[in-house]
Symmetry: C2
Subunit: 475 residues, 2 copies
């Protein structure tokens, strides 16, 4: 299906003619839970949802971003091309205003990276440097010390670690009994600093991912804040299995690590912002978006090309309606989320004086898995409106539990810290961490129907937030 | 489960004490299809099957081969270590005779390999040289010409190809409607020669594999036989999708290819042969085996460490019986199957004068997927015996269709050409070509229960062939 879809999609600008000229289908999704006739409101939402589910727009945008732009790690040429692409596409899609806001950050550079297991034989491992890591300054060869997790390393005596390469062998698994991302990721973010404090030479972690492919998962170490980190890398899960196995066999084992990477001055990229204006400037705008940067190893189709495509397509469907809604829709494509949420933090800093205009916000940064639940962090008074929204989302298979709080996401969370109400459209992420931050993040991993279900959910959310009179904050 | 199994298994030599001292379980698999009491013959097979299903032996052998030896491409240090490992393990497992027979072949060397898509931007692709390929002698940069399959390239006018890099974009898929391995692999084996005849500079193929990982599938080109081939490589399926998409967009696109590889003199490795002798030397021996060499990219756990472990473990279970069977069992671990079936061909050449003693043969070279069917190529007179064998295999979920002919396998097929009767234990290969010839061929891809079902099937086959009076040929 993907190949067929791509063949349809590659006809480059064809989608610009087709996708939003598609006549709204006569078959409406029924958002009425009982047998009463749909209200005009429900009927309009139903039309938007139907159009979203049938459109090629999001997939075409994602195809263009991954094919014409490719990887777009912050500060690279790909990043610059992505900014220009997004600005240009938003303009051609008919957003009323499109502008850039600069974001400056340390420029991290990845060069060559190799690791060899040395234990009677010398075996290359699937390795990748962690974002923000320093290099090894040539080839480093040292004994390995295995720790089950960050806590075990933190508890270790320095003598056990000094002069060695530390290996944190903490496996992430999904599912009810598994250890999720947040439980394991500390090894990646803080491990490099703890290893340095203990006198280690370098850190290697088991990839923070749920797959068994010989592809390592990159991702950033925490921001320095005056601390010193050792050179740090991740190895793939099968390589970590092997390393664990050889270490446990009791045979002598060393690691030969060479990382050519590091911070190379500063770079400036841009938050790319497009607005579909409302007809009542006093009523503020709903903030939606995703991050435009990606890691360099893959194409950033899932993380976060999908979010870029979903939110742009949803806003476009509303921009195409004959009349502007009451409130505006502001789509923010954030710069450099991956290496420290620079875009989200800079946007929050630059707009902190006008938070009242940001009536609420949401973020799409979990790939293209289907939306299964609505959650919100809003005022008590806004609960009834959220329940109305939940009713509109229900025909898409999206549930709602009033007890569940929104967490917002990395970028939007910076506005949440300033008191902005937040909405979550929670996605099925069961395959997300197989792909996350690896070379495998490519277009074939995106399912067209799932992507469009997201667009349908987002257009419902955006349309509702733009049209309601309800205030949602302070939460 | 894999990690737990490995933890058990890594206790290196413990399996040597444990696995075949395991008392035969009191719970027998019932090989009797009706409610009659099992015959002594059926009871003994049932005990062997039960022991095979409960044993750690095959997994422990596979763990040792992949952990202690690792990749073992023909002619490399790993190959030499594998031969020594196999000889030593066969001896310690209690085979009555163990010996080596030399096999000489051209030594192919893989060095660095890179490919970049150049189309306004420059993007690294997941690439690997095909076995036997020559190098590019530095960086080659040229226009790409896409062909849907080998036939399309064969039909092409030379002018369309001259001075370009040819891209054969033929996707392998499994399942009823899919194109199987044999339908697609010609692009890899013969494509390099056809491309050379047409005047192309190099060949790049879509990986012959069913996965969507950013890992390229290697594999050999056909043996030269006086023909000239261009430098040849495979790119991963997602990279082939991208290349196809960019080419179809009509934008200018070039490939920058650098392959450092080639034939580097000759090397000698060994067929490692172990025999459990029979008590009637005149009655010949049943030939079973797998290939010991692997590709260099992965650990050769699936291809063909699994076959090595399965056939060694099955023979070992019979060697441990209190009495020797009538016929011998000869386990042959073939050298260099991957680059041209050198081990199988050399064994057939060296033993062609004594084919009568080879009463029949079988090969395990399809990973560790469960055995689902029995097939045979034997004489008319032997059909009843094969049906008896089928009855013994049935409790393992293995079916039998007398119309289905055995194809033997790459190495054993060389003996089939000399008239040796052949038996197939056909395996579920639905995941095999996701992994085949890639870096992903690692121990975690092997399921313990499936591996042991293979051992149970092989011990049944071996025990039956060693004990029956039946002659199986000429087919």
């Amino acid at each position: 299906m993907n190949t067929r879809t791509q063949r349809r999609a590659h006809k480059s600008l064809e989608f610009l003619k087709r996708a939003w000229l598609l006549p709204a289908s006569l078959v409406f999704l029924c958002s009425c839970q009982n047998s009463e006739a749909p209200t005009p409101l429900e009927k309009q939402v139903s039309e938007l949802q139907t159009e979203a589910l049938q459109s090629d727009l999001a997939f075409s945008l994602l195809h263009a971003l991954t094919t014409e732009v490719g990887p777009r790690m912050a500060g690279t040429d790909g990043d610059r091309r992505a900014v220009e692409w997004a600005r240009s596409i938003m303009t051609s899609l008919g957003f009323d205003q499109v502008w850039l806001e600069p974001v400056t950050f340390p420029k991290w550079r990845r060069g060559s990276e190799t690791a060899f297991l040395v234990t009677g034989y010398r075996l290359p491992l699937a390795v990748t440097a962690l974002g923000g890591s320093t290099g090894t300054d040539g080839v480093m060869r040292a004994e390995i010390e295995l720790f089950d997790d960050l806590q075990a390393l933190s508890n270790a005596d320095s003598q056990q670690v000094q002069g060695k390469i530390v290996f944190i062998n903490d496996r992430m698994s999904m599912g009810e009994k598994g250890r999720g991302y947040s439980q394991v990721v500390g090894g990646r973010t803080d491990g490099p600093y703890v290893a340095a404090e203990k006198g280690a030479l370098a850190l290697v972690i088991r990839s923070v991912g749920t797959d068994n492919n010989r592809l390592a998962h990159t991702g950033s170490i925490a921001l320095p804040q005056g601390r010193v980190a050792v050179p740090s890398a991740a190895i793939s899960n099968p390589d970590a299995d092997l390393l664990e196995s050889v270490i446990n066999s009791g045979k002598p084992v060393e690691l030969e690590l060479q990382l050519d990477c590091g911070i190379d001055g500063a770079a400036t990229s841009y938050n790319v912002i497009g607005e579909v204006t409302g007809n009542d400037p006093e009523s503020g705008y709903f903030v939606m978006g995703a991050h435009l940067d990606s890691w360099d190893l893959g194409m950033g189709a899932v993380d976060d090309g999908a979010g870029v495509a979903i939110t742009m397509a949803a806003a476009k469907l509303i921009a195409d309606l004959p009349e502007r809604a009451r409130r505006g829709l502001r789509v923010i494509l954030y710069a450099n989320e991956e290496q420290g949420i620079y875009g989200g933090r800079e946007y929050a800093r630059a707009h902190s004086h006008e938070m009242d205009a940001h009536i609420a916000g949401a973020e799409s940064d979990f790939g293209s898995g289907r939306v299964y639940a609505l959650a919100s962090t809003v005022s008590e008074e806004a609960q009834a409106a959220i329940e109305e929204l939940a009713g509109l989302l229900a025909p898409l298979g999206i549930s709602y539990d009033p007890e569940m709080q929104a967490y917002g996401g990395a970028d939007i969370g910076q506005l949440g810290l300033l008191g902005m109400p937040m909405i979550d459209l929670r996605q099925d992420a069961s395959l997300y961490f197989d792909i996350h931050h690896t070379a495998n993040d490519t277009l074939d991993k995106v399912n067209l129907d799932d992507l469009n279900q997201n667009v349908a959910a987002w257009v419902t959310l955006a349309w509702f937030m733009a049209n309601t009179d309800q205030a949602f904050g302070p939460p």
